[in-house]
């Protein structure tokens, strides 16, 4: 809401020396956000004087009409060289004035708003000794089609107009919270201002003498009181449509950010801004029969004043005459009955519309307006008649119209009654506030409170936001001042700290960061094209994605079922920016089906009166998708960089597997890797990762086609696993192991195995075979070549054997080694190639 300070001052006393900024600072503690304090015209210097046009000479030799005018500016007239004065010569490009008209003249030396300095200068063959101003140049309007012509009798030539034109104005741009409809008006803002300045508030409603309903008024029937509580209408006749809005009114509208259109439209806007009641003016001649306020019939057509044809919904409230809808209630009028430059008889309408209905219609038809904004936020149900009368009086005064008859249809306003324990404000605010103060504060905002305990509070009609005791507590709190509230630290019962999973989540991030991965956070939106780029089969469950009904981009309407698309895009972005060795990780939720089909069941949305029953809560919950937490890494380039020490080491499939193991280690579990063929990985370089029998993820090098589809560096690697699937809750405390101080025995074995036999299986056999004496087992060489034969490979292991209670004998060492080899032979057909004693 943009509030010109001069308008506020009309209804509340504000100290003359209080600046706009200072007033803004005072309003902040009441709950208004001051977006800007605009000191308009404060850069104006030099006088703006009244000029009377004495002569006009049309200069025809130019491409556009140019006038050479003689303008009488009284004492500011030019020296005629003979000891006298003569009217000033001024060049003007506008043609909307005649000899005898009164105009605004900026004399040489004047600086207009915006920093435009007027000088006497030669132009179009004459010296222009000043400028005749338009409202745009004066900063009081948008119209630049002609200069500003003042009404006759405005004053004598040469008088200073600076103070009366409204060029200098302080405009407060206030952000109003959506509960405070009453602050979307000068009336409401002036009232609030009085709370902080202490100045007297003069309710503009009181300045209007409200007429009584007249049976001769326009017939009105409300068919749906749930959408319209009350509908008031006032006829105005005999308007002279050629008469313009007065300058002061246009200037105020301009400062308030509203365009001037015509007297009738300007007046309805002016009254809306002043009193907060949106109204609509119909051309009475274009209405047929009585008004009916009803819901639209589905598909009913209405052309609104912006010339858009709307197909109405059965939920839309409309104002209709005998021909059909003539206005989308509270949102926008119809073109058919719109007032025009020939309208002489009007029907002014001011109603109280159901805010929720208005909100639905606005969103359905995408028609937000200043009117609907106010109806949605709450309009004073008792202001309509005053608003109609105020508008009618302005039309009488400036449009030569006469006021007709008033119709008021609908029930009276019945304010809610709130029972308030008088100590509730003190208890809630944490500040000693006695019941007398509570009563005074609530009366200050207009509440009616008869004596008694608990307090029985009737909020004023302009405060529909006051419904509950808590609402009243807030009124007391903000008037007493939030800054007075003391600081007390509450004492919660003993907490249990972070959960195991919360700790685990942090460890995963740290562990990956310590091993060189940088965390990325990607938007979770993907597209069908991602599934194709990842090479997912048509039946892959990852294609079964939830979808945004209103995505930011139609390119990415799906919710991710895997972290990889976002992370791969981030990787490509890094590489595109010249970074070659990149390792990224991301943890986050993916969204997978599992929720109950919403389409099959009705959406449950119980109210706030009580806790929903368990079965209702369960049904509410059941529509949610599964949202497991996952972690992914992607890496490309060198894992270990080249340097003065030599070459770097390229990132490979094994780094991806190792990253997964790093994550699992933080959960205290060991991952088992198993070869797998799983998109988007390279079918020969993909590990399925298991904890026990549970598949928790995959790792390896990406499929070359995936690399190509995402524009990634060759051999890009990735791992993704489910953090939710890793068991971290209620894990037993890790057990200490006894440490042997006896010397170890080392023994190496080289085994020849089939080339396709996974090392993990060989290793498991050796461990199981060696038994408890085996302290450590390390694969130190893998060899393929002639000496082992085709399709075979040699694996060389060093075994470290040790007992807890003795030095091992050579026999024991040999027995353990032999047992290990025998088990490997039995399980995977390993052949001992050579042996070496430790």
């Amino acid at each position: 809401m943009r509030a010109p300070l001069s308008w506020l001052r009309q209804y509340v006393d504000v100290p003359a020396d209080l600046s706009g900024r200072a007033l803004g600072d005072l309003l902040v503690p009441l709950g208004m956000e001051v977006e800007a304090v605009d000191e308009r015209g404060d850069d104006l210097s030099g006088p703006l004087v009244l000029g009377e046009v004495r002569e006009i000479e049309e200069l025809a030799e130019f491409k556009k009409p140019i006038r050479w005018c003689r303008v009488d500016v009284g004492p500011h007239n030019a020296d005629d060289g003979a000891g006298g004065l003569r009217p000033r010569g001024v060049i003007c490009g506008a043609t909307n004035f005649a000899v005898g008209d009164l105009v605004v003249v900026a004399l040489p030396g004047t600086v207009l708003p915006g920093g435009f300095t007027i000088t006497a200068r030669k132009t179009y063959g004459h010296v222009s000794d000043g400028m005749i101003c338009s409202v745009l140049e004066l900063g009081i309007g948008d119209d630049h089609s002609g200069i500003l012509v003042l009404p006759p009798g405005t004053g004598t030539p040469g008088v200073d107009l600076t103070g009366v034109l409204g060029v200098r104005e302080t405009v407060l741009d206030l952000e109003i919270t959506p509960d405070c409809g009453h602050l979307e008006s000068v009336r409401g803002l002036a009232r609030e201002t009085s709370y902080v300045t202490g100045g007297a508030f003069r309710d503009p409603r009181d300045a209007v003498k409200e007429p009584a309903p007249d049976p001769a008024g326009w017939p009105v029937r409300i068919d749906d009181p749930s959408g319209c509580r009350r509908f008031s209408a006032l006829t105005v006749s005999g308007l002279d449509p050629s008469l313009p809005s007065p300058l002061w009114l246009r200037t105020r509208l301009h400062h308030a950010g509203v365009r001037s259109v015509s007297l009738a439209v300007d007046v309805t806007n002016y009254v809306m801004l002043e009193l907060g009641q949106p109204m609509h003016a119909f051309d009475a001649a274009r209405l047929t029969g009585g008004i009916v306020v009803r819901r639209a019939t589905a598909g009913e057509k209405l052309v609104t004043i912006d010339h858009v044809t709307h197909s109405l919904d059965a939920d839309d409230m409309v104002v209709a005459d005998e021909t059909g809808a003539v206005a989308l209630a509270g949102v926008m009028g119809g073109a058919e009955s719109e007032i025009s430059d020939t309208t002489v008889d009007l029907l002014l309408e001011a109603a109280w519309w159901d805010p929720a209905s208005i909100g639905r219609a606005v969103r359905r038809h995408r028609l937000p307006s200043e009117a609907s904004r106010r109806f949605e936020r709450g309009v004073d149900p008792e202001i309509a008649v005053a608003a109609l009368q105020r508008a009618a009086e302005l039309l009488v005064e400036y449009g030569d119209a006469s006021v007709g008859a008033l119709t008021v249809t609908g029930g009276p306003y019945d304010p809610p009654v709130i029972s308030l324990a008088s100590d509730l404000p003190a208890r809630t605010i944490g500040l000693p506030i006695d019941p007398v103060t509570v009563t005074q504060r609530l009366q200050q905002v207009g509440c009616d409170i008869p004596a008694g305990e608990p307090l029985v509070v009737r909020p004023p009609s302009w405060r529909p936001d006051l419904r509950d005791p808590a609402d009243l507590v807030e009124e007391v709190a903000r008037l007493e001042g939030y800054e007075r509230i003391p600081e007390v630290v509450p004492t919660p019962p003993p907490g249990r700290g972070l959960t195991d999973r919360q700790r685990f989540r942090r460890r995963v991030g740290r562990a990956l960061a310590y091993t060189g991965y940088v965390e990325a956070i990607s938007p979770p939106w993907v597209s069908e094209a991602d599934w194709d780029a990842l090479g997912l089969d048509a039946s892959d469950p990852r294609r079964n994605a939830f979808r945004l009904a209103n995505p930011l981009s139609d390119e990415q309407p799906l919710l991710r079922t895997t972290l990889l698309p976002g992370l791969l895009r981030a990787l490509r972005r890094n590489v595109g920016r010249g970074l070659s060795d990149v390792a990224l990780f991301e943890t986050g939720l993916v969204y997978r089906s599992g929720g109950e089909d919403v389409a099959a069941g009705e959406v449950l949305r119980p109210g706030v009166e009580a806790r929903p029953a368990p079965e209702v809560l369960a049904r509410i919950e059941r529509v949610l998708p599964d949202q497991p937490e996952r972690v992914a890494v992607v890496l490309a380039g060198d894992r270990s960089p080249a340097g003065w020490w030599g070459a770097g080491r390229a990132a490979g499939w094994a780094d991806a597997v190792e990253a997964a193991r790093t994550v699992a280690a933080e959960a205290g579990v060991e991952l088992v890797a198993r070869h797998d063929e799983h998109a988007p990985w390279h079918p020969g370089r993909c590990a399925a990762l298991l904890v026990g029998d549970t598949l928790v993820g995959h790792a390896g090098e990406l499929h070359p086609r995936v690399v190509e589809a995402y524009g990634l560096p060759p051999r890009t690697c990735a791992a993704e696993l489910s953090l939710s699937a890793l068991p971290v809750e209620d894990a037993p405390p890790a057990k200490a192991v006894p440490i042997s101080a006896y010397p170890p025995a080392f023994v190496d074995v080289a085994l020849s195995v089939d080339a396709t036999t996974p090392v993990a299986e060989v290793e498991a056999a050796l461990r199981d075979g060696a038994g408890e004496l085996l302290e450590a087992l390390r694969l130190f060489d893998v060899y393929t070549g002639e000496q082992v034969g085709a399709d075979r490979r040699s694996l060389a292991y060093r075994m470290c054997l040790r007992a807890l209670d003795r030095t091992l004998t050579a026999q024991e060492v040999n027995d353990a080694r032999d047992a290990a080899v025998a088990e490997a032979t039995r399980r995977v057909g390993a052949v001992l190639r050579e042996r070496s004693p430790g």
């Binding site: 929720a356 808590a470 003391p486 509450p490 919710l559 706030v608 009580a610 529509v623």
Partner: protein, 379 residues
């Protein structure tokens, strides 16, 4: 070697004469002093203290002396040998020290050579800051609560007292979600009851429903709104929500909690300001601002000292808060006549921006490693 002399031949043994012994000793000491390195000293040792050295040979002659003279000669030779041994030991230490110094000097390296063979990674500052924020509350005995990101409309709005068609709800710029099975044409105008949560406040509802009262929890998490990316907007961002419901809680407890939190995050003496505001799920409600820690308000009205951190406003908007609306308590089965509570929430990304001088919100969600790396693993 000669055998022990059994004869008592009073012949004088020249080599055992005092002047001879002193000469042998002095010659040895001179040679020791002259040894320039450990090899030379080894030769000197052999020559002057070895089995064939003059002093050892002379020592062997002691038996040839008459018994009365033996003690005297023995003492002389012994004294000389001891002096030589001592000199050798001393010189040995000296020469070893010399050698060590030389060798270690030769092994000197340039310790400024880089050795960044294992690159460091980093956590995202939003993640780190959420942890840090949560830690403040955990240290006070609060717990960390969680909730889903795809949320039901009931949890995100209805239970939080957002009226179905109220502007407070429609202003939230909500992403609505449809399940995979949805027939899109048929259902396009029908709400599925699923949204991307627009704030972390639905976790308040979950905490009250699941934990009961008293409850003191914070809920850090990711939220979504239909804002296009620009320097200060993002469709994905993060909040931390706080909720305390107990007997006797007032706005004073809320204020105390927030002030101490602000000081933990921004330093002792950090001031906050409250402005009345509106949220459907709190009443009374407030927004709270931080006194700008860059200019401390000095930039206000002083065009010569513009402040980028607070846009010369003197205050930085931080979040919203209030007393939990009794309607929300009732919706969660909590008796508002017995219990009261407060809630608050603030943007984590925004906090990273002004706490760490991060200018463009887009940088946070592009995954450029150069963004997160300077933040390390903790901030």
């Amino acid at each position: 070697m000669s055998a022990p002399n059994k004869d008592y031949d009073p012949v004088e043994v020249t080599s055992l004469r005092e002047d001879q012994v002193e000469a042998m000793r002095d010659e040895a000491l001179a040679a020791i002093a002259a040894a320039v390195d450990l090899d030379a000293l080894r030769e000197v040792r052999t020559a002057h203290a070895g089995d064939r050295s003059p002093l050892r040979l002379a020592n062997a002659e002691i038996g040839a002396l008459p018994p009365a003279a033996r003690a005297d000669a023995g003492k002389r030779i012994g004294g000389a040998r001891k002096a030589v041994e001592q000199a050798l030991a001393t010189r040995q230490v000296e020469l070893e020290a010399d050698r060590d110094a030389r060798v270690l000097a030769d092994e000197r390296v340039d310790v400024t050579l880089p050795w960044d063979r294992q690159p460091r990674g980093a956590r995202h500052p939003v993640t780190s800051l959420m942890d840090r924020m949560a830690d403040f509350f955990v240290a006070m005995g609060w717990e960390v609560a969680e909730g889903p990101e795809v949320e039901t409309e009931w949890h995100n709005f209805d239970a939080l007292n957002f009226q179905p068609d109220h502007p407070a709800r429609t202003m939230m710029d909500t992403f609505f979600v449809e399940p995979p099975s949805q027939d899109r044409r048929r259902q396009s105008a029908v709400s599925t009851g699923l949204v991307m949560r627009t704030h972390t406040s639905p976790v308040q509802v979950r905490a009250l429903l699941e934990r009961g009262v008293p409850v003191y929890v914070v809920a850090p998490g990711r939220v979504f709104r239909t804002d296009e990316f620009d320097a200060t907007h993002s469709p994905i961002f993060h909040q931390i929500e706080g909720l305390a419901v107990d007997e006797g809680l007032s706005m004073a407890h809320l204020r105390g909690t927030l002030v101490h939190f602000a000081r933990a995050m921004f330093g002792a003496g950090q001031e906050i300001r409250w402005r009345p505001s509106f949220f459907p799920f709190t009443e009374p409600s407030a927004e709270f601002d931080l006194r700008c820690f860059a200019c401390r308000g000095a930039s206000v009205g002083d065009p010569d000292r513009p402040c980028r951190t607070c846009a010369s406003e003197g205050w930085i908007e931080w979040g919203g808060c209030g007393m939990v609306n009794p309607r929300v308590l009732r919706a969660c089965g909590v008796d508002p006549d017995r219990y009261s509570g407060f809630a608050f929430g603030m943007g984590v990304d925004r906090t990273v921006m002004f706490r760490h001088g991060s200018d463009d919100l887009r940088d946070m969600f592009e995954g450029d490693v150069r963004y997160a790396l300077p933040f390390g693993t903790e901030i």
